[in-house]
């Protein structure tokens, strides 16, 4: 982990914990680039399609978010991030292949990858959302399409905010899985292992 990267992430994350949305957004965006490069490298070395990387990036971002309180401000950010990413990568590979033997790159050697492959046509998103259970679909639509906050959605659906977040989390996971299958289909017959 480059020293200046660590310093920048720590500054952004501290600001985020203090409630600064913009810092949190740029932190997550920057981390996503690193995660993408790292996941693609790790997947390639495990003999798997790098197309799966975006799933892992998204699952890791969600985990960083839901486990944010486990970061101890007296500790460096890099190893904490790496631990979460590693856990999610191994988890994803175990779910798909039943084994978790892989060597994982250190963040230090990673070159951030741009988000070239992540775009999906609007109709795809709509179709994926439609495949979710009704309540999850409403929550995802409200948050991602209409840009509402979880608190507002909770009020509208008469749920607790915690329940909305859990439902959103589940929805995000199943969307990530659907997305994974779709990108496999696109990258040719070779990708379906």
């Amino acid at each position: 982990m480059a020293h200046e990267k660590e310093t920048a992430w720590k500054r952004q994350l501290l600001a985020a914990v203090a409630g600064d949305e913009a810092s949190y957004r740029s932190f997550l965006g920057d981390v996503a680039g690193y995660l993408r490069g790292w996941a693609q490298g790790s997947l390639k070395r495990a003999g798997r399609s790098p197309a799966e990387a975006e799933d892992i990036v998204q699952e890791t971002l969600i985990a960083i978010h839901t486990k944010r309180h486990t970061w101890d401000a007296s500790q460096p950010v890099g190893p904490w991030l790496h631990g979460i990413a590693r856990h999610k990568l191994i988890d994803a590979l175990r779910k798909r292949t039943g084994h978790d033997h892989l060597s994982v790159d250190d963040f230090a050697e990673v070159i951030p990858a741009p988000s070239a492959q992540q775009e999906l046509a609007g109709s795809d998103i709509t179709r994926m959302i439609a495949s979710l259970p009704a309540r999850q679909a409403r929550i995802v639509e409200a948050i991602f399409v209409d840009g509402q906050r979880t608190g507002d959605v909770a009020g509208a659906l008469d749920m607790s905010e915690g329940a909305v977040r859990v439902a959103l989390h589940r929805a995000l996971k199943s969307l990530a899985r659907t997305f994974g299958r779709d990108s496999d289909d696109r990258s040719g017959p070779d990708a379906n292992r």
Partner: protein
């Protein structure tokens, strides 16, 4: 879903203020330990000669050794409950604590010889010990695992086992105040077996409830 949309939604999603995992653990134990102590006092009670026992070296050594196991369990919990937690360090801690107890048992044989070893080994309460320690550890184990659900352990099974070691050590300290068998040999066999049962239960609980 585009990753950029996800980032946007996450950054707008307010994170509830959550105390650090260490605080959650202490809070849980502050509730569970009085429950376990009350359970002990209400059922088996402390040994009759407790007041004089503090002058008895073997009794103090016994309590110190099981308390040491609990401390090792606490450290192992704190290490293994983080994403960057290094499993070898947690394992080394637990192994070191166990070794100390085994060594004490060996020293016992070395010092007192093999005469009467049967008495010291079987003691008064062998089966009692095997049942009581896990029962006294139940509330602490539940409290620790519950608190750890908010953590992000690099290895959920290991974090659960560490929780079991901590809970088992605490249960053993309580039971030690009742039990009149103070020989390290008894400790090394029966207390350790009982704590091992709790550690195993913790590992299973970790596998089941600490995944994230």
């Amino acid at each position: 879903m585009r990753t950029d949309d996800l980032i946007d939604a996450l950054s707008r999603d307010p994170v509830p203020v959550m105390p650090p995992v260490g605080t959650l653990l202490l809070r849980g134990l502050a509730v569970a330990l009085p429950i376990a102590a009350a359970l002990m006092l209400a059922t088996i009670g402390v040994r009759d000669d407790l007041a004089e026992s503090w002058n008895d070296g073997w009794f103090v050594v016994k309590l110190a050794l099981v308390a040491f196991l609990a401390v090792a369990g606490w450290r192992a919990v704190r290490i293994s409950a983080t994403p960057q937690g290094r499993a070898p360090l947690a394992l080394a801690l637990a192994a070191g604590a166990l070794l100390a107890v085994v060594l004490a048992g060996v020293t016992d044989i070395g010092m007192l010889g093999l005469q009467d070893w049967r008495d010291r080994l079987v003691g008064e309460n062998a089966v009692y010990c095997l049942i009581s320690i896990p029962l006294l550890s139940l509330a602490p184990l539940a409290a620790i695992v519950h608190a750890l659900r908010e953590s992000a352990p690099s290895n959920p099974t290991l974090a659960g086992a560490s929780a079991g070691l901590l809970a088992g050590g605490l249960g053993a300290v309580l039971y030690g105040l009742h039990c009149t068998d103070d020989s390290p040999l008894f400790l090394g066999v029966w207390y350790l077996s009982a704590i091992a049962v709790v550690t195993l239960a913790g590992a299973l609980a970790g596998r089941r409830w600490l995944r994230w």
